[in-house]
Each structure stands twice: as structure tokens, then as C-alpha cells.
């Protein structure tokens, strides 16, 4: 029995060290100071381990007001809230991103598009590394266009795919094209799907998510300032995407998947669809319905975190 106890403890230690946030950059450890410019944080002016060492869950989303609402929601769900409690923006010195923290949960905004979330992820991952965080789960929550789904459906992404439906992300590094894989953590996907079944509040599917660099032409919309194709062309493209397993379209998932897996972070993408792109291009839903839809990923992820912490 004593031997078994020791074995379990060793296993736990091994597990912890395995899941320390790591960088794929040998230069950082040799730097005297690391300035996270777009967060307005620096290793020489902030005590990262003290500020962030206990973080276990990171949730990211485009809109700063939505991520502020999320941290308040999850704080209440975890019983960390009390009357008058405020969650200040840790990155208040800049308007590039916003960051909020409640207990083990960190909520960060990332703006729109691959470059904007890419910058945020570089700095976030370095921050978690400097803080010596371990066993991090990171989830992107957001909105998307659906394909063949009722508006308000939640999609848990199994693979992020590009505009040609391939599960890869191409980055230009020093003038050379580098292609990286964009699969998300399969176990985490299943766990989130189970949480949604438990909640039984809104339709949820697992599928591929197409990540585009452009909202209008890149997603086959007819209502941009530029458009050189027809409704028929657009429908053909969207149906081909659906046949390839794509269930929603957004603008950040591919770089999110690839950067998180490169740095040892278990990652998921949970987006609600605001419309069915097979039926139209513009979001015409009443405001109050939109607000309810936008809260669905928060409710799912909030439940997931509660469940995780309840077992701990």
C-alpha cells in the first residue's frame, strides 16, 4: 500500500512536469528582461508567478467586453463572487487586449483575425511560462457562421481547416512557408461534448471549423465592398465545405490550434453560430436573441470548469 502511494505521487509529479507550459524558443531563457509589449507587462516590472502561477484555465475570445462578462459569470459560478467585487483589466495600460482573472481562471480578449490572436498567444504563452504555470487548459470561445446548422448551435472544433478545407496552417517565417498541423485535443473535445449533454440547454455538434483570413471574400459573402462571384458560386463553395466536414466558419482557430499544441497546451475551440450561411450572409437576429446565443459558449465552458474543479 505504501509503495502504491509513492507510485501515485511520483506519477503525479511526472504528470505535472510533463504539462509545464513550454516555449519553442531557446532565446527567451537567456533574456535579461522580457517585455510583453501588447499586454503592457514585463518580467522586470511584474511578478508573474505571484500574479498568474495558480492559473489552470485560460479562456480567450475576440471582444474585450465579452471576456469581461465571462470572468464575472465564471466567478459567480465558482462562488468566488461577492457584492461589489470587481475584476479589473490587468492590461489596463493598453487598449490592444484586455485580461481578467478570477481564481484559477484567466480571461483574455484577442481582437479579430489570425495576426491579432497570434500576437496575443505569443505573449500569453510567454506569460504563462514565466509564471511557471502547469496543466493549463485553454479554450477559445466565440461566434461563427454556421453551415447547415440552426443559428444558436454550438460547435466544438475537432480540426481547424483552411479555405481549401485542409487541416493545416501556413505561416511565413523569414520568407519561407512553414505548414503546421491544426488538430485540437481529442480528449478535451469529448469532455466538452459530455458537458453539453449534461447541460442539455442548446444543440451542440463536433465538427471541423474553417478559419479564413477574410470575413467577406474569404467566407464567400455577397455583402462586402468587393465581390466577384455569384450566389451560385457561394452556395457551391459552402456545400463543398459542408461535405468536407466543415460546420462553422470563423477567423482565429487555425493559429490558435497550432500555437497551443506547439507549446504543450491542451486547447479547444467552442463557438456559437449566429446564422446559417446557406440561408444568408447578414446577421439579422434580434439583439436580445444574439446576446443569448453569445452566452452559450460561456455557459458550456463555465460548466466544464466547474466540473473539472469539482473533481479536484
Amino acid at each position: 500500500m505504501a509503495a502504491t502511494g509513492t507510485e501515485a505521487k511520483d506519477l503525479e509529479n511526472h504528470h505535472n512536469s510533463d504539462c509545464l507550459v513550454q516555449l519553442s524558443n531557446p532565446n527567451i531563457a537567456t533574456m535579461k528582461e522580457d517585455v510583453l509589449y501588447h499586454f503592457n507587462l514585463s518580467t522586470s516590472t511584474h511578478d508573474f508567478p505571484a500574479m498568474f502561477g495558480d492559473v489552470k484555465f485560460v479562456c480567450v475570445g475576440g471582444s474585450s467586453s465579452r471576456m469581461s462578462a465571462f470572468i464575472k459569470y465564471v466567478a459567480a459560478e465558482l462562488g468566488l463572487d461577492h457584492p461589489g467585487k470587481e475584476y479589473p483589466n490587468i492590461c489596463a495600460g493598453t487598449d490592444r487586449y484586455a485580461m481578467y482573472k478570477a481564481g484559477p481562471v484567466l480571461s483574455v480578449s484577442h481582437g479579430m483575425g489570425i495576426p491579432s490572436i497570434g500576437i496575443m498567444l505569443h505573449e500569453l504563452i510567454k506569460m504563462l511560462y514565466h509564471a511557471r504555470c502547469s496543466n493549463i487548459t485553454i479554450i477559445r470561445i466565440g461566434t461563427s457562421g454556421g453551415i447547415g446548422l440552426e443559428p444558436g448551435s454550438v460547435v466544438i472544433t475537432q480540426q481547424a481547416v483552411d479555405e481549401c478545407f485542409k487541416p493545416e496552417f501556413e505561416q511565413i517565417v523569414l520568407g519561407k512557408r512553414v505548414t503546421r498541423n491544426t488538430s485540437l485535443d481529442a480528449q478535451l473535445v469529448q469532455e466538452l461534448m459530455q458537458c453539453s449533454s449534461d447541460l442539455n440547454e442548446f444543440p451542440t455538434v463536433v465538427g471541423n471549423t474553417m478559419c479564413t483570413l477574410d470575413f467577406y471574400e474569404g467566407q464567400g459573402r455577397l455583402d462586402g465592398a468587393l465581390c466577384s462571384y455569384t450566389e451560385k458560386d457561394k452556395q457551391a463553395y459552402l456545400r463543398a465545405a459542408h461535405a468536407a466536414g466543415v460546420r462553422n466558419i470563423e477567423m482565429e482557430s487555425s493559429v490558435f490550434a497550432t500555437m497551443c499544441s506547439a507549446c504543450g497546451l491542451k486547447a479547444a475551440v467552442v463557438c456559437v453560430t449566429l446564422l446559417d450561411r446557406l440561408q444568408g450572409d447578414q446577421i439579422n437576429t434580434p439583439h436580445n436573441v444574439l446576446v443569448e446565443y453569445q452566452q452559450r459558449p460561456q455557459r458550456l465552458v463555465g460548466h466544464f470548469i466547474k466540473k473539472r474543479l469539482g473533481r479536484a
Binding site: G113, I114, P115, L174, D214, D223, G224, A225, Q282
Partner: protein, 316 residues
């Protein structure tokens, strides 16, 4: 001889050339006019909910940071000698936190976030807005920060051509599942006019050059979370960029140049450099110096707009 105008007068343009056709802002989308309503989703505006022609005018300035664009709008309010202290300048897009928009007389100021996708969403909706408002002769200028190559920090670069990571003057757009290539030349006359304006400002180092636009801020730097190359390879790349005419690096200029060119907007990019990438990767300026550098593009644009409006005697 009397009929020949001095060269310096040409840049003032107090009188519009009567033979020059007015340049309308046009969308390149046959579907738009057939639509009953145009919702500009990320700007929280629409053709049914707002009287767009009554709202908008001649100069548009765009930049990444919402705080900076609000500061620019306040600055222009003062520089144009408009009534009041500007405290009542309100964000026209207050209903969303995606972008912000301020109007001070003929000047519209908007934020666009960071990167090609974020500015392109804003540009689609801005161009539709200017089209719905029936604006003509619009000049649009992106003001921002950048990394310099082989030039002093604090230098202002007026872009003649935006280039991609391969130093090519093009923007590749994926449309459905095809790649379409667009030109990224900016308005030459406008760049020259801006450069001429800059020469009148003391202690203001300015040059015209190429600007490289990338999709990633970090991979090309040594201080990102991911980095699989050496310092030597990075320097070799930057030196090749310099040799190809690149003087600064930022993250929006190619799509900005391509979209504005296609839609009849006279466009310019004016960015200050915060560091020389041949020397370092991290921005380590003191706060005061950083603020002063960031204001340099605004100062140039203010002088340019005042000249265009014939307000030369009010220049400080």
C-alpha cells in the same frame, strides 16, 4: 511666365481643378445595390438606422489603437479650430467594442485593430459606408507604428509601395478556394505631397520607402513563444529586405493599399518606427519617448489636412 504656378503652391490646392473628374467612392460589388438594407455589423451602423449621407466627409484617418485614434480626433478638433474643447466628441460606434469612430469636421477617425483580417473587415464596412454616404474625393491615410530597418527609431516612413513577406508588391487574397493577386501601390502624388509637408516640420526625420506587411509580429523576431531560426538568419532576411527597398515593417499596409486602390480611394500609409530591427526586437522605449514618437504621424497628417483645407495661416 505669370501663368506658371510656383511648385509650392501646387501642394496647397485651395481651388479644385475644374477639369478633374470627382472621384466617387465605389464598391466593386454588384449585389449591394440590390439589397434592401446594408448592415455594417462590426461598426454597429446600417442604412436603415442611420442617415449616412448626412454623417460623413473628406478625410479618413485609420489606425490600430482606439485610444490613439480618439486622441487623434481630439487633436484634429483643436488644430482645425473647431468650436468647444472637444470633450463631447463621441464614438459613433459606441455600440460595439470591435472598432471606434470619431468625426471632427471633415475628418473621420477610425480604429482598425491589428492585422490584415481586422483592418479588412473595417475597410469593407467603411468603404460601403462612404459609398452609401455618397462621398467624393476621399483621402484615406493609415497612421501607425512599425519596426524600422536600417533607419533611426522615431523616423516617419511614407509608404510608396506595400510589399509582402517575399518583398513582392502584391496582396494575395483567398476568394472562395482561389487565390487572387492585387496590386499594392499607393497614390504617388499623395505620398509626395505628404513628404513635402514633412519638410516644413522641424526635427522630423521622414523618408519615402517600401513597407513590408506581415501576418505575424513574432516569427521573424527572436523573442516570440516560437522561434526556430538563428539571429544570423534573421539578420540576413532583414538585410535582404533592406536591399529590396524595405524601410519598415508593419501588419496592415498591403490589404489597405489593395482595397483602397480598387475602390477609388486615394490612400497613404504613414508610420513611425519604434526601433531598428537590425539592432533589436523588443520595444524598450521610455513612456515619454514612445508617446512622442507615436504622435509624429498625427502631426504630419494634421499639417497635410490643414494645407488641403487652405488653413495654412493657422499652422503652429
Amino acid at each position: 511666365m505669370a501663368s506658371i504656378l510656383p511648385a509650392s503652391n501646387r501642394t496647397m490646392r485651395p481651388d479644385k481643378n475644374p477639369y478633374e473628374r470627382e472621384r466617387s467612392v465605389y464598391v466593386r460589388n454588384p449585389h449591394l445595390d440590390a439589397m434592401d438594407e446594408g448592415i455594417l455589423y462590426h461598426l454597429d451602423l446600417g442604412t436603415k438606422t442611420h442617415n449616412l449621407p448626412a454623417m460623413f466627409g473628406d478625410f479618413v484617418c485609420v489606425g490600430g489603437s482606439s485610444n490613439r485614434m480618439k486622441a487623434f480626433a481630439l487633436f484634429m478638433h483643436k488644430e482645425l479650430g473647431l468650436e468647444g474643447d472637444g470633450d463631447d466628441i463621441e464614438d459613433i460606434c459606441a455600440g460595439t467594442d470591435r472598432y471606434c469612430m470619431f468625426k471632427t469636421g471633415p475628418v473621420l477617425s477610425l480604429s482598425h485593430g491589428m492585422g490584415i483580417p481586422s483592418i479588412s473587415i473595417m475597410l469593407h464596412e467603411l468603404i460601403k459606408l462612404l459609398h452609401h454616404a455618397r462621398c467624393c474625393d476621399v483621402t484615406i491615410i493609415r497612421i501607425g507604428t512599425s519596426g524600422g530597418i536600417g533607419i533611426a527609431p522615431g523616423s516617419v516612413v511614407i509608404t510608396d509601395t506595400a510589399v509582402d513577406s517575399f518583398f513582392k508588391p502584391r496582396f494575395e487574397q483567398v476568394i472562395l478556394d482561389n487565390v487572387v493577386t492585387r496590386s499594392t501601390e499607393l497614390d504617388k502624388e499623395l505620398a509626395t505631397d505628404l513628404f513635402n509637408c514633412s519638410r516644413e516640420i522641424p526635427n522630423f526625420l521622414t523618408l519615402i520607402g517600401h513597407t513590408m506587411c506581415t501576418y505575424d509580429f513574432y516569427e521573424g523576431r527572436l523573442d516570440g513563444a516560437l522561434c526556430c531560426f538563428s539571429r544570423e538568419k534573421k539578420l540576413d532576411y532583414l538585410k535582404r529586405a533592406y536591399k529590396a527597398g524595405v524601410r519598415n515593417i508593419e501588419m496592415e499596409s498591403t490589404v489597405f493599399a489593395a482595397m483602397c486602390g480598387l475602390c477609388g480611394l486615394r490612400a497613404a500609409v504613414v508610420c513611425v518606427t519604434l526601433l531598428d530591427r537590425l539592432e533589436s526586437d523588443q520595444i524598450n522605449l521610455s513612456h515619454d519617448v514612445l508617446v512622442e514618437y507615436q504622435q509624429r504621424p498625427q502631426l504630419l497628417i494634421s499639417n497635410f489636412i490643414k494645407k488641403q483645407l487652405g488653413l495654412c495661416d493657422q499652422m503652429s
